[in-house]
């Protein structure tokens, strides 16, 4: 087990290296000159002396391979450089934004697990009931609705309308920004904060929750048909303990995989959600960095995201062994 984990950790390194190198070279093809951007914007006339000094300072005139070498020499020491736009250290930006994204992400995953799994179980147990049919249609709908459109619909229903109708103040949710930034235990919103958190968290959770519900339902239906379930019922266990003890544990394996794989989707959705709700997290920062061609910020934040993604996939693989002791990690069959 330990050697399996170490081998997987080592495999992450070339993947991250290649992915980031690809982005590095991709961004050198970008139209636009970073130095003149730094000196004050693309469309302004800039003193050539200033451009030269900037090129000098950031090594932007060096051959691309030299820049590439410098980039990795810095990056392996976890020095992510400084923003072309405002000269802030990318390490600082990462620290600040990652915290906000993490808070949003934690709530989205809590919603995904609680709502997704319980809806999936209920609709599998009551197969073909009205609720089940509604679930299957709603989950398909959730996978088809663009994240930002869902965000705007929620904003309209829970913020714009309450304001127009003059609902009591507590019922008016906020649609923009982080809010007062007051948290208990790092992630529990306190005071006014929850009114800022709830809409982006629900929006971010929506697609994944639907996937989790669909997956749980399918997986649960398969498990419910298994022989050991009949045995468990035959020996007189209550419906509840049959479902929870025998069914759930076996049905969870594909769902855990999904929640892991889905992390990439969550990041994609986070870019759209954070942009829609002006939530100051990694996603909106990445979107800004792309449109401003702020290469160091983009590469730095993407590096963090790619590493986090790889680690989460590793955790998911290891958690298979927890949910299904029949799986022996690292011995045979593992590709």
């Amino acid at each position: 087990m330990t050697s399996y984990i170490i081998r997987r950790l080592l495999l992450i390194i070339p993947t991250v290296f290649l992915a980031l190198s690809f982005l590095f070279f991709l961004f050198f093809l970008l139209p636009g000159d970073p130095a003149s951007l730094l000196a004050g914007g693309e469309n302004r006339v800039v003193d050539p002396g200033v451009v030269e000094r900037i090129n000098d300072r950031y090594g932007l005139d060096d051959p691309i391979l030299v820049q590439f070498k410098d980039y990795w020499a810095r990056t392996v020491q976890w020095d992510l450089g400084e923003s072309f736009l405002n000269r802030r250290s990318v390490n600082d930006i990462l620290g600040e934004k990652a915290v906000n994204s993490l808070r949003l992400g934690i709530w989205a995953i809590i919603i995904e697990i609680i709502v997704g799994i319980s809806v999936g179980i209920l609709s599998a147990i009551r197969r073909y009931s009205i609720g089940d049919r509604l679930t299957t249609i709603l989950t398909a709908a959730a996978s088809a609705v663009p994240v930002f459109v869902l965000g705007f619909v929620l904003q309209y229903l829970f913020a714009v309308q309450p304001n127009k109708q003059g609902w009591p103040d507590w019922a008016r949710l906020r649609t923009s920004g982080l809010g007062p930034d007051t948290w208990t235990l790092f992630f529990i919103p306190t005071g006014e904060q929850w009114r800022y958190l709830i809409l982006p968290a629900v929006t971010l959770a929506c697609v994944s929750t639907a996937l989790a519900a669909r997956m749980t339902r399918g997986s649960m239906l398969e498990v419910l048909r298994a022989d050991y379930m009949r045995t468990a019922k035959a020996k007189g266990l209550s419906e509840r303990s049959v479902v929870v003890k025998h069914g759930l544990r076996n049905a969870m394996l594909p769902v855990v995989t999904l929640i892991g794989i889905d992390f990439g989707t969550v990041i994609g959705a986070a870019i759209l959600t954070e942009t829609t709700f002006s939530w100051p997290g990694l996603g909106s920062e990445i979107a800004n960095a792309v449109s401003a061609r702020d290469l160091p910020v983009l590469l730095g934040l993407t590096l963090a995201v790619v590493i986090a993604y790889a680690l989460i996939n590793l955790v998911v693989d290891v958690s298979y062994a927890f949910f299904d002791p029949r799986i022996r990690l690292g011995k045979g069959g593992q590709s």
Binding site: T15, V16, L18, A19, F22, L23, L26, F27, L29, L30, P31, R127, Y128, D132, R133, T136, I137, T139, A140, A141, S143, A144, V145, P146, V147, F148, V149, F152, Q155, Y156, V160, N163, K164, R214, M215, R217, G218, S219, L221, E222, L224, R225, P254, G264, I267, G268, I271, L272, T275, T276, I286, A287, V290, S291, R293, T302, V305, V306, Y309, A310
Partner: protein, 307 residues
């Protein structure tokens, strides 16, 4: 692992025991396969609704100039007007008719969705087939490339490439085609891995057929089902991704009536003119949903065992 689809539950008759008992006409033999698939597909109400919607949308896209009262760049004197009998979906911030723009937007979305999917199918199927058929180093190289690209979150990758290629319809097609093939390649690879050891392939080898002929004439037709199902859903996903790129303003630019762009342009006007977001948003949603329903219906129709 069964992925249960929404169509199955709605269309299948309630059965106390779970699995559907085969009816007599499921056992019919001498019917051509295609008619069989169509018969099963037709029974799925949601899939049929999806199919009809897609056909209507195609007609609307083709005949857009005939069914729209205004041109996409025509400006009237009423700004942000709510829906009325004159402007069915209202007018936008500079007085253009939203209904006409949404209908013309179907052209943009369908063209991008279909062409991007064709491109990613071409890349994904050929690379997946090569990886699965030859195994060895070509498999290692292709699988590693897929791993590396999957390590970058999809939207980040698409947005990054889109910024390089410029902001136009054609570059969005290229971006989505170049990023969308990864999952397809994996599916085709695993089909080829399991099919290439079957006896009929061995027989084809023994007959001295070329490897290309075996791959594309003998194995590929048997690997077609997941490709068709995934390809259908992929058109929807490509439309969704196009909307996201347009929303993040790395897609087609202003006079183009891209639905995502229209939503993005209306975003500051949510409280004053919600119709600017509602109609293009609903168009994206319904179109993608239709492709999801048809894809699910196709999966059930092609492989009734999955139910």
């Amino acid at each position: 692992m069964t992925i249960v689809d929404p169509g199955a539950a709605a269309a299948a008759p309630p059965a106390a025991t779970g699995g559907d008992a085969p009816t007599t006409d499921d056992l019919g033999e001498a019917r051509p396969l295609r008619a069989d698939v169509w018969r099963r597909f037709r029974r799925n109400k949601l899939a049929m609704v999806g199919l009809v919607f897609i056909l209507l949308l195609l007609l609307a896209a083709i005949f857009a100039p005939l069914i729209t009262p205004y041109d996409i760049t025509d400006r009237t004197q009423s700004f942000r007007a709510p829906p009325s009998s004159e402007h069915w979906f209202g007018t936008d911030a500079i007085g253009r008719d939203v209904y006409s723009r949404v209908i013309f937007g179907a052209r943009v979305s369908l063209r991008i969705g279909i062409l991007a999917t064709v491109l990613s199918l071409l890349i994904g199927v050929s690379l997946g087939a090569i990886a699965g058929f030859f195994s060895g180093w070509s498999d290692t190289v292709i699988s590693r490339i897929i791993d590396v690209f999957l390590a970058i979150p999809y939207i980040v990758l698409a947005v990054a490439i889109a910024t390089v290629f410029g902001k136009s319809e054609n570059s969005v097609i290229l971006v989505l085609g170049l990023t969308g093939w990864l999952a397809m390649a994996r599916i085709v690879r695993s089909s080829f891995l399991s099919l290439k050891n079957l006896e009929y392939v061995e027989a084809a080898h023994a007959l001295g057929f070329s490897r290309a002929r075996i791959m594309f004439r003998h194995i590929l037709p048997n690997a077609l089902q997941p490709i068709i199902v995934y390809g259908t859903i992929a058109v929807g996903s490509a439309i969704l991704a196009e909307a996201a790129l347009s929303y993040l303003s790395v897609g087609p630019q202003d006079p183009t009536p891209a639905w995502g762009l229209m939503v993005s342009q209306g975003k500051g006007l949510l409280s004053n003119a919600p119709h600017l977001l509602f109609f293009p948003g609903a168009a994206i949603f319904l179109t993608v949903l239709a492709f999801v329903f048809v894809g699910d219906g196709l999966r059930d129709a092609l492989d009734p065992k999955l139910k």
